[in-house]
C-alpha cells in the first residue's frame, strides 16, 4: 500500500536513469505531487514553471518538439481546467507526447475542499481527441501505467490519487491499454454487474465482498482505461446483464457511468444502469472518511447502493 503520487515520483525517477527523453515540468507543487523525488535525482531534467500552469503546458509542448517526453506535475484541477485551452491546442491537437500526471484527483485531496476537488477530469479529458485517459486502481497499476506510458507516442492523462488505498493487484499485474479487468466473475449469470474505475475500485472490491458473503452473485469489472476503450472486450462482460452499476470517485456527469451507458445503449442492451458517483454538485472540505460517507463513496455506502439494486437493502 503506497500512495500513487509517491509511486509516480519513484517510478519516473527510475525510468529516467535509462530513458533520457523523460523530463518533468512542475507547477510549484513538486513536494505534493512527489516530483521532488525526480527533481532531487535528475535536477538537470527538472524544469520549474512556477505557479503558471498555462505556461507549464506550453513549455512541455515546446520541449516535446525536440524529442522529450515531458511529464507535467500539478494537481488535476489545474491541468484539466486552468490549462485546458493549452492542453487542447498544443497537446491534444498536435498529438504531442506530453504526459499529464494529475495528482490529487477526485474527492480526497487532503481537506483542500471543493476548489481543488478534481471531479470532472475524466469527462473533460476524454472529450479531447488523441488523449489517452487512465485511472489506476492502486499502486501496482499506477506503476504499470507509468512504465507503459514511457513508450506511448501521444498524450496521456494519468489520474493519480493523493492517498494510498488497499491493494487490488499483485506484483504480477500487467496493464493492457483499453482492456477491462475482470476482478470477480460472479458465476455465469451474475445478479448484478459492477464496473468501477480508479482508486474507487479498491473500495468497491470491499463493498462487493460484503455483499457476496450474503450469498448474492456479483460480477466486478475494473476499467482502468477510460479512453481509448476496447468496447468489444467490455461488452463481453456486460452482455446478458440485467443490472449494471458503475462506481467512480468522479461526477456522474460524463465519466465512467456515461462511458458504460454509451456501450449499453449502443448494443441495445436491456440492462438497467445505476450510476454511483458524485452528484452534479459542489462538495466540501473534510477528512477522507467523512467525505466518502457523506458523498456516497465509502465501502458501506457503495454496498448499500448495490444492495438497493439487488432489492434487498434493509432500512437502517
Amino acid at each position: 500500500m503506497k500512495a500513487q503520487r509517491a509511486v509516480w515520483g519513484d517510478t519516473l525517477t527510475e525510468l529516467a536513469e535509462t530513458d533520457d527523453r523523460i523530463v518533468v515540468v512542475d507547477g510549484d507543487l513538486a513536494t505534493s505531487t512527489m516530483a521532488v523525488t525526480f527533481a532531487n535525482a535528475h535536477p538537470e531534467r527538472f524544469v520549474q514553471a512556477g505557479i503558471a500552469e498555462q505556461n507549464m503546458v506550453g513549455i512541455a509542448f515546446g520541449m516535446s518538439t525536440l524529442g522529450y517526453r515531458p511529464w507535467l506535475s500539478s494537481f488535476g484541477v489545474f491541468l484539466t481546467n486552468r490549462a485546458l485551452d493549452q492542453v487542447r491546442m498544443l497537446v491534444s491537437q498536435t498529438k504531442a507526447p506530453v504526459r499529464l500526471a494529475a495528482a490529487y484527483t477526485g474527492l480526497l485531496n487532503g481537506a483542500s475542499g471543493k476548489t481543488h476537488q478534481d471531479i470532472e477530469d475524466l469527462s473533460v479529458m476524454r472529450a479531447l481527441p488523441n488523449m489517452t485517459v487512465l485511472a489506476p486502481a492502486d499502486e501496482t497499476e499506477a506503476e504499470a501505467m507509468i512504465r507503459w506510458a514511457a513508450d506511448h507516442d501521444g498524450p496521456v492523462y494519468l489520474r493519480l490519487a493523493r492517498d494510498a488505498v488497499a491493494d487490488v493487484f499483485d506484483s504480477g499485474y500487467e496493464f493492457r491499454l483499453g482492456a477491462p479487468v475482470l476482478l470477480r466473475a460472479g458465476g455465469d449469470a451474475p445478479e448484478v454487474t459492477v464496473v468501477s474505475t480508479g482508486v474507487q475500485t479498491s473500495r468497491t472490491v470491499d463493498a462487493i465482498t460484503t455483499i457476496e458473503s450474503g450469498g448474492r452473485s456479483v460480477r466486478h469489472v475494473h476499467l482502468p482505461t477510460i479512453k481509448p476503450l476496447d468496447e468489444d472486450a467490455l461488452w463481453q462482460h456486460l452482455a446478458g446483464a440485467t443490472d449494471v452499476v458503475t462506481v467512480e470517485e468522479h461526477s456522474v456527469v460524463g465519466g465512467l457511468g456515461d462511458v458504460v451507458a454509451a456501450v449499453l445503449a449502443g448494443r441495445a442492451s436491456g440492462a438497467r444502469l445505476t450510476k454511483v458517483g458524485l452528484a452534479d454538485a459542489w462538495a466540501e472540505s473534510g477528512p477522507n472518511d467523512f467525505l466518502l460517507e457523506k458523498y456516497g463513496l465509502s465501502v458501506d455506502r457503495v454496498a448499500d447502493r448495490i444492495r438497493d439494486v439487488l432489492g434487498e437493502r434493509v432500512a437502517a
Binding site: G50, N55, G58, G62, T65, L66
Partner: protein
Amino acid sequence: MTRNDARDVEHLETVAREGRWRVLETVATSKAGHIGGPMSAMDLMVALYFHQLRIDPSTPQDPDRDRFILSKGHSAIGLYSVLALRGYFPVEELATFDHGDSRLQGHPDMKLTPGVDSSTGSLGQGLSAGSGMAIAAKMQGKDFHTWVVLGDGEIEEGMVWETVIHAPRYGLDNLTAIIDLNGLQQYGWPAGEHDRYDRSEPMGHVNLPAVFRGFGWNVIEINGHDYDEILDAYAEVDAARGTTGKPTAIIAHTVKGNGVSFTRATFKWHNGVPTDEQLDTARAELLIDQKTEALA
C-alpha cells in the same frame, strides 16, 4: 542549412510586396481570411525567412534549424505566403487556403504545413511554446534560435505574461519575441470619440519597453517596416545569443494593413475580402506587374 548574410534590402522589399499581394489575392480567392495583421507583420517575417533564419526548405524538420512561431495565428495567410515564396511548398497551393482538404488551415497546423514549427490559433500560446523549445535547446546544447511574432492585441492574453516572467529565469537568450505593434485590434475599447468606439492602441496605455525590461528582458525598439532597422535588430539578437542570459523583445512599430492604400491603418481590414477593383489597385501599388527578378 544556410542563412543569407548578404543584406539586400531591395530584394527583401520586392519579396514583401509579392507576399502582400499573395495575401490579398488568396483572401479574395478563398473569400475569407485576415489582411491587416498579415500585412503589418510581413516585413518582419520576410526579413526572418529571406535573411535571418538558418533554414533549408528542403529539410523543414532539420533538428538544428532556427524555429519560427507565428503566435498571432490568425495571420496565417501571411506566414503561408512567405513560406511558399521561400520554397516550402508551391505558391499555387496558396489558392487552397481555407478550402476543404487543404494543408493550409485557417490557423497554422504544424502537422500539415511544411515549415510550420508550432500550431497556433488560440492567442497567447506561441511564446510559451517557443520558450519550451529554447529550454530544450539549451538542455541539448543546440545553438539554434527561436523567434516568435506576437500581436499587440494578442499580448492582452494573461498566458503571455506567465512566459515573460519565466523566460529570463531560465536565461533564454536563444528566444526572441517580436511584438507586431500595429495599434489596432478587432473591436477595441469603449472610449467614446472615434467612430463607434476607439479601436486604437491595445497597448497604448502601457510602457512596453519598460515593462519588458522590468521583467528582465533585453529590449530593442524598431520601425517594423524599415529593413535596415529590422536587420540591425536581428543581427544584434543573433550576436548576443548565448552570451547575455536574457531573452529579447523586439518592439516593432508597424501599421496594420501596411503596403496598400485602402487597407492601411484601418481596423476595417482586420479581416475582409477585397473586390476586383481593389485588387487592381493593390496590384498597381505593389508593382506586381513590374517584378522581374526571381524571388526566392
